[in-house]
């Protein structure tokens, strides 16, 4: 066996690396499935807002002795639904509603961290990600949540597709747009919390935004775009983790940088006309 192969096996023989790969791949799948819809609906930055909201949950979890993962999940779901309701009922602009809720929750997090001082180091691991320190229970929860997200998207794929393309005509066709909006934002909240352990809250929305934006450079149809998005997300997690392991880099930053490199490569290929030629041939 070549030396590189042996090194790869050595990396995968560590339990923490196995958990990192499994959790990272499932988080990447969940992010990419949702990301395509969110980016095309111009909701790309809602992930950032939810990440800020989750920070309050992490701090509350640490303060009250509950699992920070659970605290983040509860805050993220309640906060994201509050954003929707503020937009619909209080007629706030979408970005204003995100700003209101996320900053309030961020304020709660900072307030709790300042009065409880003892767990500031733990909070940093949630802010910047600690994929190599993932617990088995967190890995199992991530797998379950990512699978649930994938199944939900599969069931509602066409309605989400229609709503993303044109919300009004979807409504006329009988699509329950309000219900789907709530579903989409709730799934996004869950996904951000899953990504929290992989790349940290600071970069949580990067896995939602970067892979679909890169895939869009290929000028493919919708289904193919989702497929390419998923592939890019999984590749970036696997390559990022491997590079981080061998060069002792921070895994979260490396995963995001691999994503950025893939985007630059596909962007340049698109500019060179490689993808547009392919789509014209298929017409």
């Amino acid at each position: 066996m070549p030396a590189e192969g042996i090194k790869m096996l050595e990396m995968l023989s560590f339990g923490f690396m196995q958990k990192a790969f499994v959790t990272g791949i499932f988080a990447a799948i969940a992010c990419s499935l949702l990301g395509t819809f969110l980016v095309l609906r111009r909701y790309a930055l809602i992930g950032d807002g939810i990440a800020h909201i989750s920070f309050g949950g992490v701090a509350a979890g640490l303060l009250f002795g509950a699992a920070p993962f659970t605290g983040a999940l509860v805050f993220a779901i309640i906060g994201s639904i509050a954003i929707l309701r503020l937009k619909e009922k209080a007629y706030l602009y979408g970005d204003s509603a995100i700003g209101m809720v996320s900053h309030a929750s961020l304020g709660i997090g900072i307030f709790i961290a300042s009065i409880a001082q003892g767990f500031n180091v733990d909070i940093l691991s949630y802010l910047f990600g600690s994929i190599l320190a993932i617990k088995t229970s967190e890995m199992i929860l991530s797998i379950a949540l990512a699978t649930a997200i994938a199944l939900t998207i599969l069931v509602f794929y066409n309605d989400l597709f229609h709503m993303t393309y044109d919300e009004e005509s979807a409504r006329v066709s009988g699509v329950k747009v309000s219900v789907l909006n709530t579903l989409l934002i709730t799934l996004t909240a869950i996904t951000v919390v899953i990504s929290m352990r992989v790349v940290g809250l600071m970069l949580a929305s990067s896995l939602i935004v970067l892979p679909p934006v890169s895939a869009l450079q290929t000028n493919s149809g919708f289904k193919k775009t989702i497929g390419i998005t998923t592939l890019i997300a999984v590749i970036s997690v696997c390559v990022g983790l491997t590079v981080a392991y061998y060069f002792d880099f921070a895994p979260s930053g490396t995963i995001v940088l691999v994503n950025a490199c893939i985007f630059i490569m596909l962007f340049l290929m698109n500019k060179a006309g490689i993808f547009s030629r392919t789509s014209e041939q298929s017409a």
Partner: protein
Amino acid sequence: MSIIEVKGVSFKHGSTKVLEDVTFSVDKGDFVGLIGPNGSGKTTLLKLMLGIYPMQEGSIRILGQDIRDFSKHSKLGYVPQKAAGMNTDFPATVKEVVAMGLLSTKKHPKIIKKTDRRRIDSALEKVSMQQFKERRIDQLSGGQQQRVLIAKALVSSPAILFLDEPTTGIDQQSQEQFYDLLSKLNKSGITIMLVTHDTGRITRHVTKLASLNMRLDFYGTHKEFCALDKEHHFGHTHSLCLLRE
């Protein structure tokens, strides 16, 4: 037989009154041109008829059902104003766009069957766009994109087709072809409700005109419209009547 009944409809956007006591009914097989100046409430009325906006006052019945409890979604086709809420650079093929019009009206599991593929092909054939079915919609011209949106609206075999200024931003030749296509669809039995600014060309195609300016100024045939002096209400009267003659 009336398939659209609008009774005493009034509507406000915030504190601004947009529609006031609008009442009319559309018979099966009619081709209605809904005309009026900017801000006259045309699009609002169309969106109320489609259930996009919630009813505030009055009632609308479509195919015998109150729009608030409407369930016959497959019987309505809608072609929105292109520039409005749509993603013009959306990564979807023509086939995917038309399929969504069919699948959204189906119950779960929403899977494309062989018969569905035939319906998609047939809808594309009706608008002469079958050869483009694998092409991405953003690679088509404005006129071709509108044809695809008509195919999307037709794929579920609707009884009524609603169109909101569908020819905005389309060249004149494509507009003429577009109106010919609508006439053909109307003759095949589809009732059409068309919101338009294009008061010249539509008079050759529509069977009825509805002139709106917050209130319904006029509803009837083109001949009746020209017989009445409505110039003080609606500035297009002169061109409307000249072009038809």
